[in-house]
């Protein structure tokens, strides 16, 4: 039994060499498709950077009622700070408002009128991450309902557009990865099928000599898995190299950082083994 298992294992390895040409074709296909998948995964992992940037620009302006005192305003601001979506709140007191009015229109409104007509307000900044999609409507409503709050203004439609657009991109990316993964499995399994098709005489001969199905299948399946693993390793190291290079040369303004970890490598490995197994199993079963 041990002799048989070791024979089959060695056969699997040797087949790689025996079928150099076809094997290298499969390996190349695996490499290309896994490389593509790897790139997509990395893009996916990094797709939060742009949206986080935009989120850091989201601003909600809260205007307090005219008769709220600065102290009352402070309490309301504390309440706003407690919402999970809120990153920070910048208070603009009634005095600050007068200064800003003067900066903008060149007139000192208090001097002219003898009193300050401008209300206090606050700028609410939104948390950039931790949310798949930030939906500000409920937050706005809650702030609106706080005692002492007059009006809440925000770039409503623009933000919800951006969020929706971002969501679409993410979905597109997910679908693409799925499609490419499927395409990969099919293309690779077809390539392995062709590899095995070139061996149909051999399979027939083995059958005539009294080989069991297992005895014929196992070396081919092992060969398929080995091919996939080699292809996946090549893809992994290429991506790794590109990532290193990319981190050097990527324009800093895009703040794109690439996360690549052990899990990514292990993931590729598992995908490749699964692809190799399914591909070669399907293929060899066709001729048995």
């Amino acid at each position: 039994m041990i002799d048989k298992i070791s024979f089959l294992l060695i056969e699997g390895f040797r087949n790689l060499w025996r079928h150099k040409l076809t094997a290298s074709t499969s390996i190349f296909s695996v490499f290309l498709t896994l490389f593509l998948i790897g790139i997509l995964i990395i893009v996916g992992q990094n797709s939060h950077y742009p949206i986080e940037y935009f989120r850091s620009k989201y601003k909600i302006e809260v205007f307090f009622k005219k008769d709220t005192s600065d102290a009352q305003e402070k309490i309301i601001i504390e309440k706003i700070r407690e919402f999970p979506e809120v990153r920070s709140v910048t208070p603009i007191t009634k005095k600050d408002a007068v200064r800003i009015f003067k900066d903008q229109f060149g007139e000192d409104v208090v001097k002219m009128l003898g009193y300050n007509p401008l209300p206090g307000s606050a700028v609410v900044n939104i948390n950039k991450d931790g949310f798949e999609q930030v939906n500000l409507e409920p937050l706005i409503e809650e702030i609106q309902s706080l005692n002492g709050v007059d009006i809440v203004r925000y770039q409503g439609r623009l933000i919800s557009r951006l969020e929706r657009f971002y969501q679409m991109m993410i979905n597109l990316l997910k679908i693409s990865t799925g499609v490419i993964l499927l395409v990969s499995i099919v293309v690779i399994s077809n390539t392995i099928k062709l590899t095995i098709y070139t061996c149909r005489e051999l399979i027939k001969t083995l059958q005539l000599l009294g080989a069991t199905k297992m005895f014929i299948k196992v070396p081919f399946i092992l060969e398929g898995i080995f091919q996939s693993i080699i292809g996946a390793s090549l893809a992994f190291f290429t991506i790794f190299g590109l990532m290193k290079a990319g981190n050097h040369y990527l324009p800093q303004l895009v703040t794109l950082r690439i996360q690549l970890d052990l899990y990514f490598g292990i993931g590729l490995l598992i995908i490749s083994v699964v692809i190799g197994f399914i591909g070669s199993y399907r293929a060899v079963s066709k001729f048995l």
Partner: protein
């Protein structure tokens, strides 16, 4: 037809089927298409017999062989090989039947991506024999057939006769219960052909049945072996 006549030396009785009989055809017919194939074939080969099958080209000799190693299944009747009947066997048990048989194919069926040693060793690996024992048995067999120096060559690097001998070595190396040889001398010169028959006779003397197809009547006559003749898919006066 002057060249073909048959000598019957087997005096077996039906009751011996299954014990002394290694191959038995019982009313077997197989048709590739109407008129083409073999029809109502009945014969038996006993455990220690050496029998020839002779007949013109296209008469159905290879078809008989394929029925024995269950590459084809009879349309009528049944074939029994080593006690296993074609009408009862499960498909996944067929390899077990084939392992009892040493086959020399008319078209060799050598694996082109392996060298001669590996080709001959294959049937031994299939049944899980130890590496060193495999080496010993294969090299002995290659020696016996004078192709030991071709050990490392690929099949396409061999002459027709050498390939044929590799195929014979592969059939003999597993020490089967019965040897089927389909035209094993077609590419051998008279000396090599004569040596092969001698070799098969030795193997037969050690208790292995041999069933061989041949056109070369001169080679097989006057050897005291049974000769079956087939014409147009039908076994003649057995």
């Amino acid at each position: 037809m002057l060249f073909f006549y048959s000598i019957s030396i087997g005096n077996l009785e039906k009751s011996q089927v299954g014990f002394f009989t290694v191959i038995a055809f019982n009313g077997v017919s197989y048709f590739f298409s109407k008129e083409i194939g073999v029809k109502d074939v009945n014969f038996e080969i006993s455990q220690d017999e050496f029998a020839f099958l002779i007949g013109p080209t296209g008469s159905g000799k290879t078809t008989i062989m394929r029925l024995i190693y269950m590459d084809l299944m009879p349309d009528e009747g049944f074939v029994t090989v080593g006690g296993i009947s074609s009408n009862k066997i499960k498909k996944r048990k067929i390899p077990m039947v084939r392992r009892k048989i040493g086959m020399v194919f008319q078209d060799y069926h050598l694996l082109s991506d392996r060298n001669i040693f590996e080709n001959v060793a294959l049937p031994l690996h299939m049944v899980g024999i130890r590496r060193d024992e495999v080496r010993e048995r294969v090299m002995n067999m290659l020696n016996e057939l004078n192709i030991e120096e071709k050990e490392k060559k690929k099949p396409f690097e061999l002459s027709g006769g050498e390939q044929q001998r590799v195929c014979i070595a592969r059939a003999l190396v597993k020490e089967p219960e019965v040897i089927l040889a389909d035209e094993p001398t077609g590419n051998l010169d008279p000396v090599a052909a004569h040596d092969l028959i001698k070799l098969l006779e030795n193997v037969n003397n050690e208790g292995t049945a041999v069933f061989m197809v041949s056109h070369n009547y001169n080679l097989i006559k006057n050897r005291g072996h049974r000769i079956l003749e087939i014409q147009m898919g039908e076994i003649q006066n057995q």
